[in-house]
Amino acid sequence: MDAVLLQLLNGLDKGGAYALIALGLTLIFGTLGVVNFAHGALFMLGAFCAVTTHKLLTISKSVQDTSITLFDVHKDVPYLQIWWGDIGARIIDYAVPLSVLLAIPMMLLVGVALERGLIRHFYRRTHADQILVTFGLAIVLQEVVKAYFGANPLPTPAPEIVSGSANIGAWIGLGDALSYPWWRLVYFLFSVAVIGMVLAFLRFTTFGMVVRAGMRDRETVGLFGIDIERRFTIVFGIAVVVAGLAGAMYTPILPPDYHMGMEFLVLSFVVVVVGGMGSVGGAVLAGFLLGILQSFASMNEIKDLLPGIDQIIIYLVAIVILLVRPRGLMGRAGVMET
């Protein structure tokens, strides 16, 4: 029982990341009709927003280490710590959550620029062309990051206060065997919150209503005199921000490197397909479902039974779903079913 529950928990954070990326992908597809192969790279860009924040906050000055008096030793002390002492140190400790503040405007800017500069010209082109151009874009983004930050993973620690493990077993009366890293819990809650915000935005605001109407029938919305393209640009921006946030907060779980995005992209595409192209709820559901499934497949008992299943489970599920139910779990009829 404990083991099962633990795997369930383990799947949640990864599922959260899948759901966030897939949410953006499916939004872009549903609104603009564009297949965005660069979404994984945008996730990676978000992760590097966290790295940048950490770097910016720890810009340091070399000062003499007074604790060693025998000979001259210099150590780097961040300016923040010099100016504000403990508060500065606390701020540095919270670099990853704070990076959200950098990631939102940055990613919004990137998203709107991309949509206006590049994606817009591909609305009427074939899906193959869209895939190819965004694939090229992904490579470019990746390589620029590599040129700037190097090829090695850059560990970015979570704040001290959530670096340990939460004793979830004790909370629900199952004994001490069930402990779970705090940050993963934070990530799960964060992803749920972001998903909730996006869904609420689409559901309860006028803007969201227009966007949903545009997803259904873009021409009619246009006939009402609404500039639907402009709203779709903003939706693209939101999707990019969501991917960026997913990446920024994921850094303590997986030290970011320049090609992390591609693994997530392939998986997120699978998630979108399983959930149903263009279906927002389906993407979220499938994201968590596949994340949990993957973590179950990596249990030792199951791996002994079916070796290698943890590597391929998601793809297998996708293949079965595509063949049996081509519109995905929650896809609407008539959207890309062939």
Partner: protein, 388 residues
Amino acid sequence: MTHTVKRDRMLVGGFALAVLTMPVWMTPLGAGYPDLLQRFAIYGIFAIGFNILFGLTGYLSFGHAVFLGVGSYAAVWSFKLLSMNVLPAVLCAMGVSGLFALAIGYISLRRSGIYFSILTLAFAQMAYNLAYSVLTPITNGETGLKIERVDPRLIDTWLSGPSTLIPSTNFFGMPMSGYSGFFFCAVLLIAAFYVALRIARSPFGAMLRAIKSNQNRLNYAGVHTRPYALTAFVISGIFAGLAGGLLAATDPLAGAERMQWTASGEVVLMTILGGVGTQLGPFVGAVIIKYAENIFSAFNPQTLHGIFAFLPDPIEDVVVTVTGLFVGNGWQLTLGTLFMLLVIFLPGGVIEGARRLGVLIGRKTAALRGRRSQPLGSALPASGAASE
């Protein structure tokens, strides 16, 4: 009809001539060494095969490198178990990758468009992951599959007794390294080109193009399109397997990284760079990519400073820093940028670009000629236009 046949014959002849003389005319370009020429030929086969699927039917496979990798593994196993002769190895590679293509294609072709791309990508990722993990006894995991002295090599041992050192690959005694290896690949490339051309000109090829232009209409007309698409998929998989087998033949080593999605992306790029659906395009694209990869990744800041030495120093530094991003390890950045520019501005590829250029030049020269001839026959153009 005879006109096309004649033109095709000339095309194949010209292609064969150009390929076989590559060691001569590639030398001034700095690519006249067998290692690189072999890669031109091998990736040419890969791209030509990919074009049979993508160019004719329009199905964009994003997992084509699987067949390249599988072909390599099959060829190396043939070296290990049967003989160091490349003939069984290449046949093995083609057969095994054909079987893989049949299985993957049978499932993937149930869907089209982006779903097909994702299905093939999923299969490729699965194969890649499995090759790295569970299938290690077959693929030798991260180390890659190599030939060893203790391998059985049944046919070789039966013919000439056990060997004491690691033998090298050969084609009935002809070594596979150096120029003889290149000519072996080149002959296969020409054969592949010829086969692809015949397929494109055949009624079967016409059917594949019909699938690309409007599959629904074919279905309504009562044509079951899937067997045709599957046949194209398998043929293209066999071509990829042949390329993989040749990769192993020229350098008997197979690793899972050949199956990575980047390799699949590369062959897509080669094909569209040259020109999707054209005869020469894929090979041209493969040569350009491999040549550029070779040239660009060899650059380093010193050579760049050498090139831009004529500029004033501050400008030189800036130029070198900027271009430095694109060369050496940053070669991938060039690749990505090229990819984007190409899809945005020249979806038809180099062949299409050359054609447009030809038309443009033709129009220019015609205009020039027209202007020159005007004073001579001043009143004629109007009546000429009317009579046309």
